[in-house]
């Protein structure tokens, strides 16, 4: 049992540290949240005002004549100092303005002056965006909002007449007068409360720390007390900021952070961690460079990819924060819930829907199974052929037969693609030689599949051959002798001697080959490129297409995560199977 006095001291130190951390975080977040909250609110209000103006102008017919009346009616409800202008794009006209400077000679309606080009540009831009949105799928925001240094907001929204954008409602809304609420953090009352908490908690914890046993109990008590105190603080703070949603959520986050910190320190995890760290400094120092690299460039992208899969990020909205683009499980529902394997074509018949996830999955599985089967059988046959005793030039054959594996696989993919060329490819020449008609290989899904199969089969059998050969050569010849003496036929010898000896080598090779083939990006991408029409895509090339040809990053990330989940399942399953077979 720990010496009570140092334990209590450490405990209080931990408590104080955790509390200070949480309060500091809360302070900072609250300040940012109130400022941000204010900013967000101001933006919203400015845009609402602009929309209201646009609605009034549209209701009045969106013409120059009617604009002034609409604007005047609107102006009354606005904050003092708000300036509104109605801009019409055609003819660069200022239809109405509440700017006090636009009076007399420069009163609206009139043509826009050169200095007012910004107004015209904004209106024109909004019209362009509206037209693009009407045509395309991607929706860009049809609002323009910018905040000036002094806190005022300049916003613009489109004005429509008969469905088409004819101009913009341009509103300048001054900053809110300095309010008594919010400010930058808790006032003196809050600070006093914080000080009280800081004093009270250690005092309150002191008694339990003496009486309760184990590292967890005092920590739990402290956490509970802290939660009560901090909860009060949060309630006060959110009331003070007028219930700004951002503020409350930020405070909750900081509350959680504070509780975690307390828990970690109070329960001794931090202390044990630090001790382990210093005891094994050398080891950690040595692994640090590699681990940093791995974390930054392997693990972080992996988790970021998963986060990305829950957003609707595309190339058009990369600059927006992810929280704005959150779509939850939409992508997953689209991918996994799309059971439309067949669809109706124009002539009414049914056709396979190649973009469907399940089709691609089935195709990938078929692709993997056939490739591995071909690789294993061809490799095994060749290994048996090469294993014949006294084969002349065996090393030569071995080297030559490994060449397909040795060549960079993107080169062989392109070579085979060239050989399958409809007009000039040697495969069709050979077909013609044998009296057949040349085939348009990439026009039909099955023939396209065959091209990829041939290519991958060609470059994957050497691996199987080498593995089989190695295993075969380790089988002692006496076994065969004994079997022959006992009268076993060649087939029986093969089944009872050769195959079992091959298993320990072939099984891991097959497992590896399955994973490699499942993800064989280069062959599919370079040989068939998914032709025709996406029929020969495997999962991983499909994900690539979504990301880099359709630029739908969020959707592609979801697709990749699904692939990852499949591989993980396979990995777990395979682990169990090999563990089971190893026992044999």
């Amino acid at each position: 049992m720990n010496d009570p006095a140092p334990h209590a001291a450490r405990f209080h130190a931990g408590l104080g540290a955790g509390l200070a951390l949480a309060l500091a975080l809360a302070w900072a977040w609250l300040a940012a949240a109130t400022a941000g909250g204010t900013e967000a609110r101001e933006r919203k209000d400015a845009l609402a005002a602009a929309h209201a103006l646009a609605a009034k102008v549209e209701a009045a017919g969106a013409t120059e004549a009617s604009a002034a009346g609409a604007v005047a009616a609107w102006q009354k409800a606005q904050r003092a100092g708000t300036v509104a202008r109605v801009v019409l794009v055609d003819g660069a006209r200022l239809a109405a303005s509440t700017d006090p400077a636009d009076a007399g000679e420069t009163a609206a309606p009139r043509r826009l002056r050169l200095e007012e080009k910004a107004l015209f540009d904004r209106a024109k831009r909004l019209r362009g965006i509206a037209e693009e949105n009407a045509q395309g799928v991607q929706k860009t925001s049809e609002e323009d909002a910018s905040r000036r240094e002094d806190g005022s907001w300049q916003v613009a929204v489109p004005i429509r007449r008969a469905g088409a954008v004819v101009g913009a409602a341009d509103v300048e809304r001054p900053a809110a007068p300095p309010a008594a609420s919010g400010g930058s953090g808790p006032g003196p009352g809050g600070r006093a409360l914080a000080a009280l908490l800081a004093l009270a908690l250690p005092l309150a914890a002191f008694a339990p720390a003496r009486r309760l046993r184990g590292p967890w109990a005092p920590a739990a008590v402290a956490v509970a007390l802290f939660a009560i105190g901090f909860g009060t603080f949060v309630a006060w703070a959110s009331r003070a900021t007028g219930g700004a949603g951002d503020g409350v959520s930020a405070l909750s986050a900081s509350a959680v952070a504070g509780l975690l910190a307390l828990g970690v320190v109070g329960s001794g995890i931090a202390e044990r961690g630090l001790r382990a760290l210093s005891k094994n400094r050398v080891a950690y120092a040595y692994t640090l460079p590699a681990m940093v690299g791995m974390v930054v460039l392997v693990f972080f992208p992996f988790f970021y990819g998963i986060v990305l899969s829950f957003t609707g990020q595309t190339i058009f909205n990369v600059n927006e924060p992810l929280s704005d683009l959150w779509v939850g499980f939409t992508h997953y529902k689209d991918i996994l819930g799309d059971l439309a394997l067949v669809k109706r074509v124009e002539d009414g018949s049914l056709a396979l829907n190649y973009g469907n996830f399940y089709w691609t999955l089935i195709f990938t599985v078929v692709w993997t199974v056939t490739n591995v089967a071909i690789g294993v059988s061809v490799g095994l046959v060749l290994a048996l052929a090469l294993n014949v005793k006294g084969l002349a030039l065996r090393p030569v054959y071995r080297v030559l037969l490994i060449l397909p594996w040795a060549m960079p696989n993107y080169i062989t993919a392109l070579i085979w693609k060239g050989m399958f060329h409809r007009q000039f490819g040697v495969v069709n020449y050979t077909l013609m030689l044998l009296g057949f008609e040349p085939i348009s290989w990439f026009d039909g899904p099955f023939t396209s599949f065959l091209t990829a199969l041939a290519t991958n089969g060609w470059l994957s059998f050497p691996f199987m051959m080498v593995v089989s050969l190695g295993a075969l050569q380790s089988i002692p010849a006496d076994l065969y002798e004994a079997a022959r003496v006992d009268g076993a036929t060649r087939w029986q010898q093969f089944r009872s001697i050769t195959l079992p000896s091959l298993k320990p080598a072939l099984v891991p090779a097959i497992i590896l080959s399955v994973v490699w083939t499942f993800n064989m990006f280069n062959i599919i991408f370079l040989v068939t490129a998914g032709e025709p029409g996406g029929a020969t895509e495997i999962l991983i090339t499909q994900a690539y297409k979504y990301a880099f040809q359709q630029y739908r990053y969020g959707y592609a990330a979801a697709y990749s995560t699904v692939i990852f989940a499949l591989l993980l399942t396979y990995g777990i399953f395979q682990n169990r199977v090999t563990r089971a077979t190893e026992g044999i």
């Binding site: 094994n280 040595y286 791995m294 392997v298 990819g305 070579i415 013609m432 090779a509 990006f521």
Partner: protein, 273 residues
């Protein structure tokens, strides 16, 4: 069977020496006879010429692409092997909390291909770090994908170095750094060499990451450049063939030398479990 195996290689060599850009081995008359077809299938060029080899270097930026590949692969190898050495040594010699997790995480990350993480990697490297179309970016990505494999190979080798040597050095008063640099590393030279060669080869042969990250033509690596020759915008099979032969020769020889280590490492490791 050997003929079928070798045929594509002979085909590409033939085209490289054919002096033209066509992917047909021989021009066919409109009504080809059987003999014409046979001629068109035999991998021997109609006109023997090394013109493609010369012009791919002279008229195309191929030399630059080749240099890019060399630079990137070399940098990847140096960085990857160095990082892997220290980590493998720690995993092999020290026992510390997180050792097992660390090794498992390396192993697990091997199972998942780079293309799965291509999207976030792209966002991180190109948009956040601004390293798109730069050699540094690609080297970073390649090095981190090479590390797990190197760590496993090196750790296996370090495990076979007897600890008595290090204990003797400790008794003579050497610190851990000295032991690492002067005792262990020289002994591990063969394993380091092999690991380095594997890393080099992997980086040299890598296509898709390079194609995604390198936008500017002068930054292409050799694989991307070769694909560019026959990609659909151009059909310069002669250049492609000549370039392929040049790119493949070192790799093929390297591979033939290394393949026995690869197979034994892969299967032995998996069987041991």
């Amino acid at each position: 069977m050997v003929l079928v195996t070798l045929y594509p290689l002979l085909w590409v060599i033939t085209i490289s020496f054919s002096g033209g850009q066509s992917l047909a081995l021989a021009a066919l008359p409109p009504q080809p006879t059987k003999l014409d077809l046979v001629r068109a299938v035999i991998p021997w060029p109609q006109t023997l010429s090394a013109e493609n080899y010369v012009s791919v270097f002279r008229d195309q930026p191929f030399a630059r692409w080749l240099l890019n590949s060399v630079a990137i692969s070399a940098a990847t190898t140096v960085l990857g092997v160095f990082l892997a050495c220290t980590a493998a040594y720690a995993f092999s010699r020290f026992r510390f909390p997180g050792r097992r997790t660390g090794m498992m995480s390396f192993l697990v990350s091997q199972m998942f291909p780079g293309t799965l993480m291509l999207i976030p990697l792209y966002i991180i490297i190109v948009q956040w770090l601004g390293l798109g179309s730069s050699r540094v970016g690609l080297v970073l990505v390649y090095a981190t994908t090479a590390i797990p494999f190197c760590v496993w190979m090196l750790k296996g080798y370090f495990d076979t170095i007897p600890k008595e040597l290090e204990e003797a050095a400790v008794m003579e008063g050497a610190g851990p750094a000295r032991i690492f640099w002067t005792v262990v590393l020289p002994l591990a030279r063969p394993a380091i060499a092999i690991t380095a060669l594997f890393s080099f080869m992997t980086a040299w042969n890598e296509f898709i990451l390079a194609a995604t990250f390198m936008d500017k033509e002068e930054m292409y690596t050799a694989p991307v450049g070769l694909r560019f020759f026959v990609g659909g915008f151009s059909q310069s099979w002669g250049y492609f063939a000549a370039g392929s032969v040049v790119v493949s020769i070192p790799v093929v020889f390297l591979f033939l030398y290394l393949q026995k280590y690869l197979v034994s490492g892969l299967t032995a490791g998996s069987v041991k479990g």
